[in-house]
């Protein structure tokens, strides 16, 4: 199987080749879905965001500047779509269902599962702009440079947000009694 790189596929898309777009969808549907899922913690919402993200990518491909990495541009759209979805929610809706504090006792769960849930809870308790940097750094494993490109912020600001986000997560987890030693 020959894997065409992003710039080639994007150029083919811009020339009207829909099959090139199919390949971009197949390549990036999972990371885009996961960005949205981590931002929203809502599977249906993440599906909607993934769909709207690719629709916007498709509609605005002519505006895409190849000087930037394609996935940076696409992740930016995914994050903006996620933030829009969060903004449309009612207060507290972001922390719902089994994520609430009165869930099953942590002692009855395996430690890894308990910590995973606690981390996901904690993520929903920090501001979306801080959650965004955690997602880009630790889930999408982007460099500071790429994160700055996605967020259109100076690297210094990205680092500052990332440090703050980690601190808040740590404090939240310790308050919840999660063992981080």
């Amino acid at each position: 199987m020959n894997e065409e790189d992003d710039p080639t596929l994007v150029r083919r898309c811009q020339e009207g080749d829909r099959h090139a777009f199919d390949q971009l969808v197949l390549r990036y549907q999972k990371p885009v879905f996961n960005v949205a899922l981590r931002m929203l913690r809502d599977r249906q919402g993440a599906l909607d965001v993934a769909q709207s993200t690719f629709l916007k990518v498709f509609e605005h491909l002519a505006d895409y500047d190849p000087a930037f990495r394609f996935y940076s541009w696409m992740y930016r759209i995914a994050i903006n779509e996620s933030l829009n979805a969060l903004g449309a929610r009612k207060p507290l809706e972001g922390i719902g269902g089994d994520e609430a504090d009165d869930g099953p006792s942590p002692e009855r769960q395996a430690e890894d599962e308990q910590t995973r849930r606690a981390i996901e809870d904690a993520l929903m308790h920090i501001k979306p702009e801080l959650r965004t940097v955690i997602i880009l750094r630790h889930f999408m494993h982007l460099s500071y440079e790429d994160m700055a490109g996605v967020l259109q912020l100076p690297e210094k600001t990205v680092k500052s947000r990332l440090y703050s986000a980690r601190q808040l997560l740590r404090e939240h987890l310790l308050r919840r009694g999660v063992d981080l030693t």
């Binding site: 829909r18 199919d22 990371p31 769909q51 995973r116 889930f139 440090y163 980690r166 601190q167 030693t181």
Partner: protein, 221 residues
């Protein structure tokens, strides 16, 4: 703990410390158990964050995404040049009663185009499954064929409006735009990736103006 000390810890986590900063952090860690505890907690937190597994999206997400795209006005000419259509025409002309044939391939892992051409050319094709599309906005039939080790779908359809079709099989989805011509009729062969394992399904979703107007499921017996 100062902001500078915290910044050193975060920079250490991200592998951004130079030699001098590493020495500075090491001195602080030795001098202050509190700093050491915070550093260990942040390291542990970041290890956990780094190893959280990605969720699997539903298998039909690509289909949903592609179905939501606006319809194309025409199939790009460059794509139609991808296959040596005369080989397929020679093979399938006897199977389809009428209409001009246009050949496409669903891209994905599987034999290379050259391999498919070679296998498709050998022996007579066998019909594996056929589905009638009924009397809705799109009518006609679709059939699944095997020829040698290769699979293909034949579409013979009529519709009042331009039709696109999504073809999903073996974890791969592709979109064929402008399936029907201006007269509303189409006869088209789509070569599929893979060799067609028993029970493999080929899902076809027909779209008009981006809206789903019909579907068909073909199965390898």
């Amino acid at each position: 703990m100062t902001e500078e000390e915290l910044a050193l810890i975060h920079a250490e986590i991200d592998g951004e410390l130079d030699g001098r900063q590493r020495g500075e952090l090491a001195r602080q860690l030795l001098a202050d158990p509190g700093t050491r505890a915070v550093r260990d907690q942040l390291h542990r937190l970041c290890e956990r964050l780094d190893t959280l597994e990605q969720a699997e999206p539903p298998s039909d997400l690509p289909t949903r995404i592609l179905a939501a795209l606006p319809p194309a006005t025409a199939t790009p000419k460059r794509y139609r040049k991808a296959l040596p259509r005369w080989r397929y025409a020679a093979l399938f002309a006897g199977l389809l009663g009428a209409g001009a044939l246009v050949f496409e391939t669903v891209r994905g892992p599987g034999p290379a185009t050259s391999e498919m051409t070679g296998t498709m050319a050998a022996g007579a094709p066998v019909t594996l499954d056929t589905v009638s599309l009924g009397d809705g906005p799109i009518a006609g039939r679709v059939s699944l064929y095997r020829d040698g080790a290769a699979l293909a779908v034949a579409l013979e359809v009529t519709a009042d409006s331009p039709v696109d079709v999504l073809v999903a099989t073996g974890g791969h989805t592709s979109r064929i735009n402008g399936l029907t011509n201006e007269s509303g009729a189409a006869a088209r062969i789509i070569a599929l990736p893979g060799t067609g394992l028993k029970g493999q399904a080929v899902e076809l979703t027909f779209l008009m103006s981006g809206r789903r107007v019909g579907s068909a499921r073909l199965t390898v017996p």
